[in-house]
């Protein structure tokens, strides 16, 4: 069924009894051309683009829980392509371009809102660093504007401009950045993939990877053995465990990242704004709640919940940037498990097994990358060749010394 204003009208007139489930709940078949492990944003997007762009529809997506239960529903919904390094920037810009046409493409309202992403700077050195990043973005054909203090004040007059320790000097603005309703991304991709013949199999956990003669032949799951021509891993925080089933040791640690929503407030933040003197980013949802987050907790975790020390730290950073937040109440908080790679950049690559493909290491930047990650991973699986914007995301870049270290932290995942 195609969603449109007319379909809403017609279904409204007939008591809304005509709506069907957005995707089927199929029994797993004995064999698929491609099996994707992980029914999150990236896995579903991969299935969608495999079917839509690359003509491979005999695909199963295996999800151990339900669609949207992992990181695709646990982020702060921000999209942007304000990256500095040549290995990253064209990829994230591809993602941004896909976001821009996504809703028409998969016929689902994902509430893509290009309200702008503003990174504040607080010192001369930081201004210079942001100028460099803005220039790098523009050289890659991405929009970037350096705002001075007066221009930022016009946008967000309630910021603490004269903070004694971190006065706000200005900001780097990407107007095309913004937010997307994250659940709708999972649902839209799931529905789009399903309607093209992909089987989305929920509550189906992979327990082992069966191999013969250097090739994967299928996966053992909680719903029985499923054979496959190619196996694609998109398991986010559980990547290390799934990869270990194929004796693959990854340059990844799993860490917990928390996010928060405040009580509903009248509209006052009209863009995404990030603090430059600490790690804090905030936007306001259409329901009025402030959606915000900060750093990862900093220790290995599979728990999907964090510690209060980080909550306090995030709240302090937020209050240092926007004093008016001091009396805002937190409504909800949650944690997601991030696949933190050793250089802070992702991996979309082959592995030592001919027909095993890996998509991992998204750190806490995976949501904005969802469309491009799916597209490039599908490209790799279908054509056995990296998509041109994802060529740098190789698994062997660590041992070869070609790291993509956007933050310059070295091999210390809890600092990226």
């Amino acid at each position: 069924m195609r969603y449109s204003a007319l379909s809403i009208l017609l279904n409204g007139l007939t008591g809304n009894r005509g709506w069907r489930a957005a995707w089927r709940d199929p029994q797993p078949k004995a064999h698929y051309d491609v099996v994707i492990v992980g029914g999150g944003g990236h896995g579903l997007a991969t299935a969608y683009y495999l079917a839509r762009e690359f003509g491979i529809a005999n695909v199963a997506v295996l999800e151990k829980n339900y669609v949207g239960s992992g990181n695709v529903g646990r982020n702060t919904t921000i999209i942007r392509s304000n990256y500095l390094l040549p290995g990253n920037n064209p990829f994230y810009e591809l993602s941004m371009k896909l976001w821009e046409g996504l809703e028409r493409d998969f016929n689902f309202n994902a509430m893509v809102s290009q309200r702008g992403v503003l990174n504040l700077y607080h010192s001369d050195a930081q201004r210079d660093a942001y100028t460099r990043r803005g220039n790098a973005m523009r050289l890659h054909g991405v929009d970037a504007e350096l705002l001075d203090r007066a221009a930022v004040r016009e946008m967000l007059p309630f910021l603490d401009f004269d903070n004694a320790r971190f006065p706000i000097q200005g900001g780097l603005l990407q107007r095309r950045g913004g937010t997307v309703r994250h659940d709708a991304v999972a649902w839209g991709y799931a529905r789009g993939a399903d309607s093209r013949g992909v089987d989305i199999i929920q509550n189906c956990e992979v327990t082992a990877i069966r191999r013969e003669n250097g090739r994967v032949t299928g996966v053992e799951t909680t719903r029985g053995f499923i054979g496959c021509g190619k196996l694609a891993l998109a398991a986010a925080g559980n990547s290390s465990n799934v990869a270990a089933m194929a004796d693959l040791r990854l340059p990844i640690e799993s860490h917990v990242l928390q996010a928060f929503v405040s009580e509903g407030l009248k509209p006052f933040i009209n863009c995404v704004v990030t603090f430059g003197a600490g790690h804090f980013y905030v936007s306001q949802s259409d329901k009025g709640g402030l959606v915000f987050g900060g750093d990862i907790d900093g220790y290995n975790s599979y728990a999907q919940r964090g510690n209060l020390a980080t909550v306090e730290h995030v709240a302090e950073a937020g209050k240092a940037m926007i004093p008016a937040l001091s009396r805002v109440r937190f409504l909800r908080s949650w944690g997601g498990i991030m696949d933190m790679s050793m250089d802070g950049s992702p991996i979309i690559d082959h592995t030592y097994l001919d027909n095993l493909y890996l998509n991992a290491g998204w750190c806490y930047g995976g949501f904005k990358a969802t469309p491009a990650s799916g597209y490039c991973f599908a490209h790799l699986i279908a054509r056995d060749q990296a998509q041109e914007t994802a060529r740098a995301f190789r698994l062997d870049r660590f041992e070869r010394g070609f790291l993509i270290d956007e933050k310059g932290m070295g091999a210390q995942p809890n600092l990226h």
Partner: protein, 92 residues
């Protein structure tokens, strides 16, 4: 995670005094070769469950500790001085 961590030197202290560095790994010899060093610097077991990790008692005795912690329940188990751990060469 428990609010109090029992430091072998300072006794029970609030966990906010500690900084967590990461997995306890044995450092290869200087001439151990490219693969051994790549493994040490970049590859991780990243276990779901018991994890041995270096903690620093930053706001206390400032000693490096080896702490055993569960990555699913966040339960903190054994906690000993890193130098003592190295001497004993305790490996789980």
């Amino acid at each position: 995670m428990a609010s109090l961590i029992s430091c072998p030197h300072c006794g029970a202290r609030p966990k906010e005094e500690f900084t967590i560095k990461g997995a306890v790994l044995s450092r290869p010899a200087a001439d151990a070769g490219h693969q051994a060093w790549t493994d040490y610097v970049y590859l991780r077991d990243n276990p779901r469950g018991t994890h041995r990790e270096y903690w620093h008692h930053t706001s206390g005795c400032r000693r490096w500790l080896v702490v055993t912690r569960d990555t699913v329940s966040h339960e903190v188990g054994f906690c000993q001085d890193a130098a003592a751990a190295k001497l004993a060469e305790v490996r789980p």
